[in-house]
């Protein structure tokens, strides 16, 4: 293992090199582009033995990745924002054809107006496409997670695609020390992809032909749902094996920080959790019992882990970096739904912050914690840092 100073995008590139992806199809988009550049260089130098397909759009990037995966090859692509939105249709093909494609999505706001900075609207809009979604907090976690989700996605009980989210600029272009495992270690962790089904010449195989109501459409959709639940069950095991081989920490579906004796907790995702961590430490120094629950896995949704939070804490704040217009923050909505029916449910305070890269300060997070501790004026939807009263 060697320690390097890597941007989040470089960490993605290193992970894909270690995963020995066989087909990379990608299209440039800010702030994802340096992932594609990194991989092109790796293929050019012979560090990655892959076909590199310089497609003409993200729609085709995903289409080509699905095609490669159906051929039995390990496929990778990366995108962001508008590119992910353009892929939407093909995301359903990837999951529906049960191809364990892995994709890095650099979380960036959607236009209009044009904005290249971080929020989670792009990936949240894809939550119903049958993809595993994991959100990273650090560049180390970016690298580790890409490798872990290859294992998870390619597990024969799962066979669904996975996307790993890293925040625009705060991870993608920020340099952090990253421990890069040796390739022989990763080769033990992630053996060559061996799918239960792939295109075999001179057979009558069908991949995705039509199925009317009385045939198997609904059953295949049910299989996909079952596979997603399997992915949730298998994630801790996949992480644990990775930790044993590399010594890198495991986080689970929900990464809890200083929650043991906490009175209240804040839920957040991505790099915002790092800011929240600092706020927790600062408040703890003042003797305030606050904790952080970072949502790492969003699909499949870890409802059990969320219920466990609900059973242990009486007041929970949820910080969303996306909006489901007309319904508030998507994370808040899902947390609310997961908490229904538990005895003595907690009070939930829901906040929307940091859209389009708007800075979220430690002070703002402190204030959320302090209101949570006081129990007064807890909002069902409040926008943080809004310049005009909404």
């Amino acid at each position: 293992m060697t320690r390097h100073l890597l941007s989040g995008n470089q960490a993605v590139g290193e992970a894909v090199r270690l995963a020995r992806a066989q087909v990379v199809a990608a299209y440039p988009i800010t702030p994802q582009t340096t992932i594609v550049e990194h991989l092109a260089e790796a293929v050019g130098k012979g560090d990655l033995l892959a076909d590199f397909i310089t497609v003409e759009s993200e729609h085709s990037a995903m289409a080509a990745s699905v095609g490669a995966s159906i051929a039995g090859a390990r496929a990778f692509t990366a995108t962001s924002s508008q590119g992910l939105a353009l892929m939407h249709e093909m995301l359903h093909w990837a999951s529906g054809q049960r191809t364990p494609v892995v994709m890095a999505n650099v979380n960036r706001a959607l236009a209009p107006p044009w904005n290249i900075w971080v929020d989670h609207s792009d990936s949240m809009a894809q939550r119903d496409t049958g993809w595993i979604q994991v959100y990273a907090e650090t560049n180390q976690e970016v690298l580790d997670t890409i490798l872990q989700v290859y294992r998870l996605a390619e597990d024969k009980r799962v066979m669904v695609p996975a996307m790993v989210m890293l925040d625009a600029f705060s991870l993608s272009h920020t340099y952090m020390p990253v421990d890069v495992p040796e390739s022989d270690v990763i080769d033990r962790y992630l053996p060559p992809y061996s799918p239960p089904q792939k295109v075999l010449p001179e057979t009558t195989q069908l991949f995705g032909s039509f199925s009317p109501p009385e045939l198997c459409y609904m059953e295949l959709r049910h299989d996909l749902e079952v596979a997603m639940h399997q992915a949730r069950i298998l994630l801790p095991q996949v992480e644990e094996e990775y930790t044993q081989l590399t010594g890198h920490p495991s986080f689970g579906a929900v990464d809890e920080y200083r929650t043991d004796d906490a009175e209240v907790v804040l839920m957040a995702m991505g790099s915002l959790a790092a800011t929240a961590r600092d706020a927790v430490d600062a408040l703890r120094r003042e003797g305030k019992k606050v904790g952080l629950a970072r949502m790492r896995l969003f699909r499949p949704f870890p409802a059990d882990a969320v219920r466990s939070l609900g059973e242990r804490f009486h007041r929970i704040a949820v910080l969303d970096r996306a909006v489901s217009y007309g319904s508030g923050g998507p994370l808040a909505g899902e947390v609310r739904a997961a908490l229904l029916g538990i005895a003595d449910p907690p009070v939930l305070a829901a906040y929307i912050a940091g859209l389009g890269g708007r800075e979220v300060t430690q002070e703002q997070i402190r204030s959320i914690f302090e209101r949570l501790l006081s129990g007064n004026g807890l909002p069902s939807e409040e926008w943080v840092g809004l310049k005009v009263e909404g």
Binding site: Q22, V23, A25, A50, D51, I53, T54, V55, E56, S57, H59, S60, A61, A63, A64, S65, V66, G67, A68, S69, I70, A71, G72, A73, A75, E89, M90, W93, Q97, K198, V199, L200, P201, E202, T203, T204, Q205, L206, F207, G208, S209, F210, S211, P212, L215, C216
Partner: protein, 293 residues
């Protein structure tokens, strides 16, 4: 009697669900005779997404990957790359898409694949409208044709999109026009395409009696007239060099081709004269390209 020289082996079985007299069904049967069994198909939304039969049945004896309407050439690019990486580099990857999926919604992915000169055969079976959705005009619909979106009063006035010309402009190694009513010419072109590397584009005129509105029994006949009248000439372009592959001695009047189809019933005599002059001009231009200087 002349004995046809087509390969006898069949890679498409009976029991498909195409309409009677479907040119696209015959095109697939002939295409697979030309490529042979080591072929993998990519089929987008189009009639052929249905013709093969519902899951888990199929009339095709080759593996078939279905995908989204506009994605054929991109899926095929990935499939070929994947097969190259997993020990099946010789398998012929073939996209098989309709005219809407090629000339309209799929042209971006096709143009990208052509510019990259991806190793695939791309077949456009052109029935000159969106037939699977019930006969709506596409970019490949000839002017004056009746479709449900070009009814009387809303006729299409613009020319048919020249897909073979567009593909030639991409400098791909092989472009050809094919007509299942000329099976030997058809299979010879598929075989030639199969022997070449890079992106090979085959543009097939595929009669659709349902949308073209004629007796399904006359499919082969109508197809023959399309080429006999110079309406759909048979040529190939190998590395930029044009060659006519079959020419009628004395061309049939275009009116004979048009009047056999209900979809042209709204054309007036003056319209038909115009179509004839357009066909003559296209033929003259093609003759120039196919005649060595």
């Amino acid at each position: 009697m002349v004995k046809l020289t087509l390969p006898e082996a069949e890679l498409m079985d009976g029991g498909h669900v195409a309409c009677q007299g479907c040119g696209a069904a015959l095109a697939m049967r002939l295409f697979l005779k030309g490529t042979g069994p080591d072929t993998a198909l990519v089929i987008p939304a189009c009639c052929w997404a249905v013709i093969a039969g519902p899951m888990p049945t199929t009339c095709l004896r080759v593996p078939t990957v279905f995908s989204a309407f506009e994605a054929t050439a991109a899926v095929a690019s990935g499939l070929k790359a994947g097969l190259r990486r997993t020990g099946a580099p010789k398998t012929i990857v073939a996209g098989f898409a309709g005219d809407g999926g090629t000339a309209d919604i799929g042209i971006q992915a096709l143009s990208g694949a052509a510019e990259r000169n991806e190793d695939m055969i791309y077949v456009c079976y052109d029935n000159e409208a969106y037939m699977n959705t019930g006969v709506q005009r596409s970019g490949a619909t000839p002017p004056g044709t009746w479709t449900t979106t070009t009814p009387r009063g809303l006729e299409k006035s613009t020319p048919k999109k020249d897909m073979p010309g567009i593909m030639v402009a991409h400098k791909v190694p092989y472009v050809a026009t094919l007509n299942p009513s000329f099976p030997e010419d058809f299979v010879a072109k598929v075989k030639k395409a199969a022997s070449l590397p890079g992106l090979r584009y085959l543009h097939v005129l595929a009669d659709c009696p349902t949308g073209w509105k004629h007796d399904p029994a006359l499919m082969v006949e109508v197809g023959r007239l399309a080429t006999m009248s110079h309406f759909f000439p048979l040529y190939e372009v190998e590395n930029g060099r044009y060659r006519m592959t079959w020419e009628p001695g004395q061309p049939a009047p275009v009116a004979k081709y048009l009047k056999g189809q209900g979809r042209y019933s709204q054309l007036t005599d003056a319209d038909i004269v115009k179509v004839q002059s357009d066909v003559d001009a296209r033929w003259a231009a093609l003759k120039k390209l196919t005649t060595p200087a």
